[in-house]
Symmetry: C2
């Protein structure tokens, strides 16, 4: 995205703010000179960004070689509607982390990361469901990217043309916020009628 009052920030608070609100990371890496960019759920524990996947997944296998990678988490907060086409923009925050992933082998670190994947999206869910079996754990690769080289860019606020010659036009200008929320939970089709909505989901969907 272009222009507007933006700044690159490297402080921990800005990093945490994006990572705590984001739902997905887009992870890019190259294979034989061709870049790929794939969406992955992520977790953030300590100074690491974690992704996971099947050990058989091509992306996981390539990332685990430690080749250079980039993980991007983007929040799109609104459309900035100016009086001219040119000044139209978006309000957003975007975190870009560069580095190399490596496979996490420590059993405790792996379990903590798995718990964080679940808990960051649906707090309390981890304790409601069956823990991973030894086979399931073996089938799952967990990769960590150290958050050493991170930048956060953002734009917020009204259009930039409030002091321009366009400001005299009789055109509405402002920001159209973009909101993301959880909808009404959809029970699995075979779920018994007497099983109540999980407390974790209740808390998320209480309006």
């Amino acid at each position: 995205m272009r222009r507007g009052p933006r700044k690159a920030r490297y402080d921990r608070a800005a990093i945490d703010a994006v990572l705590s609100r984001g739902l997905l990371a887009h992870v890019s890496f190259a294979d034989s000179g061709q870049p790929y960019c794939i969406p992955m759920l992520y977790a953030h524990v300590g100074d690491g960004l974690y992704v996971h996947g099947s050990r058989r997944s091509r992306a996981v296998r390539l990332l685990a070689t430690g080749r250079p990678a980039c993980a991007t988490v983007t929040l799109l907060d609104g459309l900035v509607l100016a009086r001219s086409v040119f000044e139209h923009s978006a309000n957003y925050a975007s975190l870009i982390a560069l580095g190399s992933f490596q496979a996490v082998t420590d059993a405790d670190e792996r379990l903590a990361a798995l718990e964080a994947f679940t808990e960051r999206l649906v707090p309390g869910r981890w304790a409601e469901v069956r823990a991973p079996s030894a086979n399931e754990l073996r089938a799952t690769a967990i990769l960590q990217l150290p958050l050493d080289e991170v930048s956060v860019k953002s734009r917020s606020g009204p259009p930039d043309d409030g002091n321009s010659s366009d400001a005299g036009r009789s055109t509405w200008a402002g920001v159209l916020p973009i909101e993301t929320r959880f909808g009404t939970p959809i029970p699995a089709p075979e779920l018994a009628d007497n099983i109540p909505l999980a407390p974790s989901v209740q808390r998320l969907t209480r309006r």
Copy 2:
């Protein structure tokens, strides 16, 4: 994201469905062996995916060299809450386009792309605002990626453990939909009181 009933599709309808719903593309490219992945607004005209930016932007300049690139558009539709940690997943659709961007030089194609950027997000906005000046057009690079090598992956539906031994557990399972919508428009601070909400924005925010 991993597992689940997913499929890769290459048909035009699947491509159009993702591109018409998406808000952002994540565009990746490499520079000196380091991949980068950056969020960009996009437009979709004919068989091309368009992005734009300042001519001075580093990403734009690198992409315009025609180096290998990847553009990914992801829709996250819901969290899939199974009875086990392992079967937790996400419902999504993701389009991945590989190829090389090139700068669009034809004046008509450039203008059509600019109109599509605005119109796809806020239909009708183009006609409400001042058209780009010659200087603004000169400052703007428009890049096109031919949609030749595209795959669409998606997952939808309930958790996969409905027929597993976990299905007997008394744990709520199902899908928690994720909804994206426009919020209440925020007028620019200096906007005169007698300027009504633009018809384009009215249409988008009418509930």
